[in-house]
Amino acid sequence: MAFVTPALGQSLLRLFTVQGSWNYERMQGIGVGVAEEPLLRPLVRNGDQTAYRAAVARGAHFFNAHPYLCGLVVGAAARAEHERAAPEQVERLRAALCGPLGSLGDRLVWTGWLPCTTALAIAGVALGLGLPAVGAFLVVYNLGHVALRWWALRAGWAYGLRVGSALHQPLLQRAAAWSGPAMALAVGLALPLAARYLAAPFPTGARAVLAGLAATGTALLVWRRGQLDGLRFGLLLLVAALVVGQAWR
């Protein structure tokens, strides 16, 4: 994978905006098309734009996966277009990448790397490390983030229609297997620390009330899952506190 071309760089930059025009109709489609377009420009031959325009139109069709992994489809579809793959083949490739890339990315990042690193940031803040813990989170998280985007685009562009084999990358498989347990461990670690940190300023009596409310609330939310979301539960609790605060002065 020695080819780092200006077009690839431009495509990567555009990938950082891939969800900028997210919508219910094509989801990430427009953004994926925009990111793929620089890689498609060589398809213009002697002023004939037919192949280029057809490829651009395909590139912007419905797509949705994890944003950090969109580079795989951008690279792979562009490579397939360069190799003059049949239009149906490119469409099938895009359709088949949607779900798996979404699922893999959700497991790797949304329920893995991200909550894992924010939990460590919470733990850091709770242990009194302050702003440096927040800074460290941003740096560490984004090392993984940018590396994943860059790897995805390069792998897609290198493998084209055989992009499935790029996903067999052992590091990726190991990361996917460990992301869940690592997240569970890190958030587990952070919760008691956060509780102690947030409860510290309150007097003992208030802390007991806090612990009781938190335990009851957790039980309620687990029991009524699907019917009561976190935000509404929080608001209900606060409105109750406002009413009690007015009545019991």
Binding site: M27, V125, N142, A184, L191, P192, D229, R249
Partner: protein, 225 residues
């Protein structure tokens, strides 16, 4: 609070809101980042950190998959830190959580509206898109980003106004006990939502053991330190 400070908060909240979905998703949209920076802007890092932790816990309730709708806690945390200036020290926290959750709800609705407007714009340009016109494609994309920026600014603005109203009118109507009670409710809510959200995410599979191990480890560290 001076107008200059409010404007800096507005700018920060806009960047935070834009980061969540559009550009560049480097997670300054996470409360644990958005809150402390807002705190630093107001010269009150401690409150920023505390509210950052509170809303980060609320955030554990959310899984951003597909077209699912969810609240937006980035600009909300910025507004929350502003609202918390109503009470001295930790006791302003409750007002912060109240304003933050309300703003988060608005943020979620606004995201939905922008995604709908984007869909309408895409629909209107369907013919040019099918013809593979790269200029139309780029224009649609940039328009989407501009819409999201305007949305983020609007949500942050509304949040900051709510914060201002809270400081002016609501805070004075409560005794110290009432203010503390509100803070207790806010913190308890965050802990409950964070725990329940994580439990849901961990599932009943092998992850549960790791979660329990983490809880045990965290409790020991909390006890010792």
């Amino acid at each position: 609070m001076s107008l200059e400070l409010q404007l800096v908060l507005l700018a920060w909240g806009t960047l935070v809101g834009l980061d969540l979905i559009s550009v560049p998703q480097m997670m300054i949209a996470r409360p644990i980042v958005a809150g402390p920076v807002a705190g630093a802007i107001l010269g009150d890092v401690a409150t920023g950190l505390a509210l950052g932790v509170v809303f980060e816990l609320f955030q554990y309730d959310i899984l951003p998959v597909g077209a699912a709708r969810y609240p937006e806690y980035g600009p909300a945390t910025v507004a929350a830190v502003s609202a918390a200036q109503a009470g001295a020290g930790t006791f302003g926290l409750g007002f912060g959580v109240l304003v933050g959750l309300t703003t988060g709800l608005l943020g979620g609705v606004s995201l939905h509206l922008v995604h709908r407007l984007n869909a309408r714009a895409v629909d209107a340009s369907a013919a040019a898109l099918e013809a593979g016109d790269p200029r139309v494609l780029l224009r649609l994309h940039v328009a989407g980003i501009v819409r999201d920026a305007a949305r983020a600014a609007l949500v942050t603005g509304v949040g900051l106004v709510l914060a201002q109203l809270t400081r002016l009118f609501l805070a004075g109507a409560y005794t110290l006990r009432g203010v503390a009670g509100l803070a207790v409710a806010g913190v308890a809510g965050a802990l409950a939502v964070g725990t329940a959200g994580t439990l849901r995410r961990v599932g009943r599979g092998p992850g549960l053991r790791w979660f329990v191990a983490g809880l045990a480890g965290g409790s020991v560290v909390a006890w010792l330190s």
